[in-house]
Symmetry: C2
Subunit: 290 residues, 2 copies
């Protein structure tokens, strides 16, 4: 049996009781290590689970799926995923391969950023399409996701923006020379995402288009959702450029209009005042929404 097990979002103890029991009895336990991270490292997980974990990066899962699935018809193999196995990235590919090999699978769900963002008080059912914001380079500055934000806002929906993660990135030089030397991991901050968004807003204005989002659009920055030191900050897109949310992972929500009074009141618990500290001014928040 192949078990796909969600680890949740915070630390080792966010696994479910059922998930932990399965991990402890499986023959091999893989840890997917490319779409998200916990606030604790592999060693902490290994100690808590009492099991050695085999790191599986994107390359391995794609190219060596057969190794992962080896003998899974006669023994139990666990594949651990931060968040939920069907969170931001689905692991459909692994499931389809297993099914073709006649291997049964089971999913043990957990929280993922896709549902845990509800902690800021915005209602989950009012979220439209989720978008991803990638690190821009000098030559690659994609803006197409902005159309989806626009469509969501036109329909009064919030947009969850998942921010880029660069793990096992190679410098151009190392890539050309075929050297498997990797750069330190990079995680996009809410500040960086907001700055890129504001640049897109400016580009729209230069082209004479009315942007769907402005400096004043009410946004929510979230960091380390589900962890002890989680941080949430509600304020304008402009404020998101400078708010300090600490370490990764970060996510950004661009709100839709017509918020429910309860949503506004909840956001006010996290509002950024003029001087950058927390305040609880609901009026300020209402004015921030444009």
């Amino acid at each position: 049996m192949l078990y796909l097990i969600g680890l949740g979002l915070g630390d080792a103890k966010d696994i479910t009781v059922k998930g932990l029991e399965v991990v402890r009895r499986c023959s091999r336990v893989y840890l997917e290590a490319y779409t998200s991270i916990l606030t604790v490292g592999k060693e902490v997980l290994e100690e808590f689970y009492g099991r050695k974990l085999i790191l599986a990066d994107r390359e391995e899962v794609e190219q060596e799926a057969d190794n992962i699935l080896k003998d899974a018809d006669i023994c139990d193999v666990a594949f651990l995923v931060v968040g939920d196995p069907f969170g931001a990235t689905t692991h459909s590919d692994l499931i389809l391969r297993a099914t073709k090999l006649g291997i049964s699978y089971r999913v043990i769900h957990n929280a993922s950023i896709m549902n845990a963002v509800g902690c800021c008080g915005l209602q989950l059912y009012k979220f439209g399409e989720t978008v991803s914001i990638v690190f821009w380079t000098d030559t690659w500055r994609p803006e197409s996701f902005f159309d989806k934000v626009k469509k969501n806002r036109q329909n009064g929906m919030h947009t969850l923006c998942l921010l880029d993660i660069k793990i096992k990135e190679q410098s151009l030089e190392n890539l050309i020379k075929g050297r498997k030397i990797y750069e330190p991991p990079r995680y996009m901050t809410v500040n960086q995402a907001a700055q890129q968004l504001l640049e897109i807003v400016q580009n729209h204005r230069i082209r004479g288009e009315e942007p769907a989002v402005t400096e004043k659009t009410l946004c929510v920055g979230l960091a380390r959702v589900g962890a002890e030191d989680q941080k949430i900050a509600a304020g304008t897109l402009q404020q998101m450029c400078t708010v300090d949310l600490g370490g990764p992972l970060h996510s950004l929500i661009i709100t839709g209009d017509n918020m429910h009074p309860l949503e506004v009141e909840m956001l006010s618990l996290f509002s950024i005042s003029e001087n950058g500290t927390e305040s609880t001014s609901i009026d300020g928040l209402r004015q921030a929404g444009d």
Copy 2:
């Protein structure tokens, strides 16, 4: 401290390790009992947690929130919610009351139907606004949610339909006489939801409007997501009227067009063949989508 703890979707062991530790040390433990249900009852949870649970129905949470929050500034109180505390229903109100009383709160997240639906293979980021389908009566047959489905489909998005739950319902007679006698709980099935949807489709045709959904629209019925005996069936809306998914809870997805090949392939694992049994015909699925 007030702890809002998600229980996940299946049985007692779907609570997280962290959640279980908190439950075991809290002074009082409430179980929210109106927005969703687990496959096991209160007694099974009590035995596994080793704690007595206080059932809190909607009335109590709304009218007696102060009782729930009593002394939570000096002791720990847990409020257990099936799924995630910010799943289909938010518990913003309780949090806002706690905050006003100067009581700190913490959320321990878990899977909810809002992210666990990913198990059918449809990509979560491509879901639009979530809708609720309620039991129709002779005199109350709301259709307004259909506009949201239409909007989602126009934008190529899937729609998750949460199906009605009637708990602590009073007959008109008992309501008038003020007798607190309640009807047995009712949970809408995928069959019932599909039949109501087809009636709305017919009403659109009678009015000369092109319906956004037809008998042939590809849908996914899900039952007891996250439980051992979970069932998923992919087929046309017409097929959803008769597919047998067993006991509650049920959910229905109305797919959007332009599915990714991986989504189609995953759905084919769950496709309903002509004779009502499972088949793996991808072509059949592709034709089913209109």
